[in-house]
Amino acid sequence: MTRTQQWGTRVGLVLAMAGNAVGLGNFLRFPAQAAQNGGGAFLIPYLISFALMGIPLLWVEWAIGRHGGGFGHHSAPGQLDRLGPYRWLKYVGVFGLFTNLCVAAYYCYIESWTLAYVWHSVAGTFRAVDPQRFFPDYLGVTAGSMFALPLPALFFFAVTLALNTFVLSRGLEKGVELAAKIGMPMLLVFALVLAVRGLTLAPGDPGVIESPLVGLNFVWQPRLSGLLNPTTWMAAAGQIFFTLSVGMGSIHCYASYVKQKQDVALNAASAGWMNEFVEVVLGGSILIPIATAYLGLNVVQAATAGGSGFGIGFLTLPTLFNNWGWFAPLAGAMWFGLLFFAGITSSLAMGQPILSFLEDEFGFRRTRAALAFGAATFLLGFVCVWLYPGGAFDEFDFWTGTFALVVFALLEVVIFAWIFGMDRGWEEITRGADIAVPRIFRFVIKWVTPTFILVVFLGALFQPQGRAWGAAFWKLFGGEMWPFAPESVIGRVLHVGDAGYSWLDAAGAPTRAMVQDLSRLLLLAVFALCFFLVWKAWRLKARREK
């Protein structure tokens, strides 16, 4: 049973928490976001957001987790239930199950790509095949079709899920903690080797057309005008929010295995700053400098214009490593290996809350709970694989990996500060603390953090076309409609930008809109199922207590 589980060492706990936060976004998203939103100036709102939203949220989630763990609850529904007298609180915790399950489904698919790319890097596939062609083939994407059934991708997906299930079934100390103790140092070593090799490239080396420092300059050159642009602040707050893995319920789960008088304040700060080190120092020093050295700044600027380095990371870098001679297969394996370690330490954190819920509330044995998680993740993940060309993957990513996170974080911080109350909340954060937590954070958690998250939430809800907030307000004051961006929450719901919205095309074949809508219905059904399981668990509990 989960009650007997605990972390083996404090370092193991901090590494597992840092591993939860460190993900693919640290290496692929951060440098592109920084470069596109003010360069070095981006780091000012970024670090302010970290101090006023990131760190306080980490403390809140660790405190909620340890508090709930004291009552034998290691997942969000039970933990939220213990924060106040209202019966609906446990249903807010449904987000902590739903999000982890659905994000794990598509995240493990990305994780499996990195595993496949490690294999293909070592096998020398990218010496013969252009990754630009390899990637769509690997995903089974064919022009005009909404469906894909790529057997190699399914194979690596199954292997990745089996690995996750196996590690989770070994329990906290021998599974998750051991994986973090191996994965995090390996990730750091791989990242350091690649950063040093990349930054020491020089014009004159085979294939190098520009100094990698030009790329580093692109990331760090401060454009102070960006500070006056609300988009820069929204982007910085969003990056902090998503890089720390807050609003998921996984931090709550890991923290629930901390003993009641043991520290959460220092552990949370250490794990949070470790994530920042990986993101700011290492994440900013690999992708863009190496790509700039071989492709030139103009190409890199165009490739990262959307604020993502995904294209360069998967489609371009494997070819560029071919310039490194005998080191090429090793460099490819290291790059995708570090992405794999970043991924698996995060996906394990998504699985553990599901296991804990099934163990705590339904009395599942650990192995059975791990298998249930693996099976559910495979079924949901299969939808992402099968309907990838139709956009199911993107729908999962947006509604569960972006929207649900912000909603849950906003609700939990309001419940913590206003229902649980800041007096008890502050006592919970500072009990056993090994650092002095500045008292200003009482005020910050009660007022500033919820406001920050609310701004991120409203930003996602109403994001205007081209992120041009000023122009959008002028339009509104001029009596015109608000120009919702297609990628905003409302824009997605209304299918803004879809010309001739229809579920079937002229030939009677399913359209992208159909796949999108059915994916949303599936996600709603999963949410309803999680809601039902929480209701059932509390009904069983009430019967047992009679």
Binding site: G40, Q221, K259, V280
Partner: protein, 38 residues
Amino acid sequence: MTGSAGIMLVLTWAVVVFFTARFFVKVLRTPPREDGEP
């Protein structure tokens, strides 16, 4: 690299490395309390 980019990089890296190292060293040096301890 330009001077302003270099300054931003050095300043930000210094802040991040300082706090990462400071907190992690404290984690390594401070043994966890047992439940009976005050």
